[in-house]
């Protein structure tokens, strides 16, 4: 239990995917304009992360490892993730259109999102068990959510700020992200015991 808690806090705050590991920056910058869209994207990311951690872990354990094919991890994982996302999307569209409306538009983006493949590669690196890697995926998703939601609040304020011409748009967004990232340095070295 304690390890799981450590993984949870660690992945969420200490090594926050977006702010200290630089994973999933594209959606972080792209979908943080409004808190409502940020919430939608976060939901989709958490969902896909948890699911893909489970599936990729199984693929790794039962397909790659026994055949000594670890060098095919990248290709196998991305295939699994892409298929998973596309499948979820197709099914949602038909079965729960309302949820699809809320999440659907974000799903394709997630395939090419570093966070998903990144967390799969990390569980391999760290030799996580099945439960650990699923918890890790969940925590990373929560960390992503936290960063995204906080950031969206700030960006809504930036919308009316009087920003110098050359910095309007992406530059100021990046600088704002830098300041948020500075605040997260506070979590560095958080010891969970």
């Amino acid at each position: 239990m304690k390890e799981l808690f450590a993984i949870l806090i660690g992945a969420m705050l200490v090594e926050n995917f977006v702010l200290s590991k630089f994973l999933g920056i594209c959606p972080f910058l792209g979908v943080s304009k409004k808190t409502s869209t940020a919430l939608g994207m976060s939901g989709a990311v958490v969902f896909v992360l948890v699911l893909s951690q489970a599936v990729t872990w199984l693929t790794n354990e039962y397909l790659l490892k026994p055949n000594k094919l670890e060098y095919l991890q990248t290709i196998a994982f991305i295939l699994v993730i892409a298929a998973l996302v596309q499948f979820v999307e197709t099914v949602l569209k038909k079965m729960i259109p309302s949820l699809y409306k809320a999440l659907g538009v974000y799903l394709p983006l997630i395939t090419t999102n570093c966070a998903v493949l990144g967390s799969a590669l990390i569980f391999v690196e760290r030799d996580y068990t099945f439960v650990e890697s699923v918890v890790f995926g969940f925590a990373a998703g929560l960390g992503f959510t936290l960063a995204l939601i906080l950031f969206s609040g700030i960006r809504e304020r930036l919308e009316t700020a009087d920003i110098p011409e050359a910095f309007k748009g992406m530059p100021i967004t990046l600088i704002a992200a830098s300041l948020v990232s500075i605040t997260f340095v506070g979590f560095a070295g958080l010891i969970i015991s």
């Binding site: 790659l64 055949n67 095919l72 197709t90």
Partner: protein, 275 residues
């Protein structure tokens, strides 16, 4: 041999997913009308709402599902309308390309000011205070509310008077709706002569409030060979369908409030270029 296992494993995955995905997309297929996306592509994408729908998406849906005629979109001009009409297989219809024009010449030099306005730079805000700072309460306030809603940067405010740049204007009509004084009108792009005044006061009052206001002297009405000019509640109005751009009226107007705004065709917004 060492090549076979990896190939088998990954191809196996590929097979499973290939079959699964194709099957799923068949089972869970959701029909959407592809034409909507195509029409949406053709629309200008300004999302200005001039068509009366919620942006270009709304318009595209309306064209496909409700059979709305593409000429409801003024912004794309003739080429766009024709392209969509072709695609949808409807008659091209006729569209009269219009541009907006501010019917006022009361800039800071011409108009008499009745008070010093201190407050938010917005025509509606000033208008709420005793109808604005211009003594003529029909005149342009020059605080640029129209400019703020023009997505095409077609309006400039100079010396307290809004002016529309015909080369940029697409005739979307947003400024017409915005102006608290209701002095912006959409006129056919080729009509050159307009009475640039909206003052319905009697001549004497008009003359007191503005150097270039229409005083309803009727001279233009009399001189127009085509009888295109009528008096409407103390302002002259030129009917563009009758006007032949001879310029007689402008020559006789004592207040110089009839102006020639003919634009060279070559300078017009490409979209609105007229055949």
């Amino acid at each position: 041999m060492s090549i076979l296992i990896p190939v088998a494993v990954i191809s196996g995955l590929g097979l499973v997913f290939g079959l699964g995905l194709s099957y799923a997309s068949k089972v869970f297929e959701v029909k959407v009308d592809e034409r909507i996306a195509k029409v949406r592509e053709m629309l200008p994408g300004a999302n200005c709402g001039a068509c009366g729908f919620s942006g270009c998406d709304g318009m595209a849906e309306a064209i496909v599902n409700e059979g709305v005629h593409p000429s409801r979109c003024p912004v794309g001009g003739i080429p766009v309308v024709n392209a969509i009409a072709d695609f949808m297989g409807v008659d091209e219809g006729s569209i009269d390309v219009k541009v907006a024009r501010v019917l006022c010449q009361g800039d800071c030099d011409n108009a008499v000011i009745k008070y010093d306005y201190v407050g938010i730079q917005d025509c509606h805000a000033a208008n709420a205070l005793a109808s604005g700072m211009d003594a003529c309460h029909y005149g342009c306030l020059g605080l640029g509310s129209c400019k703020k809603v023009c997505q095409f940067d077609a309006i400039v405010v100079e010396n307290g008077l809004a002016r529309i740049i015909p080369e940029k204007c697409t005739g979307c009509g947003n400024c017409v709706k915005e102006c608290p004084k209701a002095i912006i009108a959409l006129v056919p792009v080729l009509s050159g002569f307009t009475v640039k005044c909206s003052n319905h006061d009697k001549g004497a009052i008009s003359r007191k409030n503005c150097k270039v206001g229409c005083i309803a002297c009727q001279k233009c009405v009399k001189v127009c060979p085509e009888s295109a000019i009528t008096m409407n509640n103390n302002v002259a109005v030129i009917d563009p369908t009758k006007c032949v751009n001879c310029g007689e009226c402008a020559a006789v107007c004592p207040q110089k409030c009839i102006t020639n705004t003919i634009v060279k065709r070559s300078q017009l917004n490409v979209n609105t270029a007229v055949q």
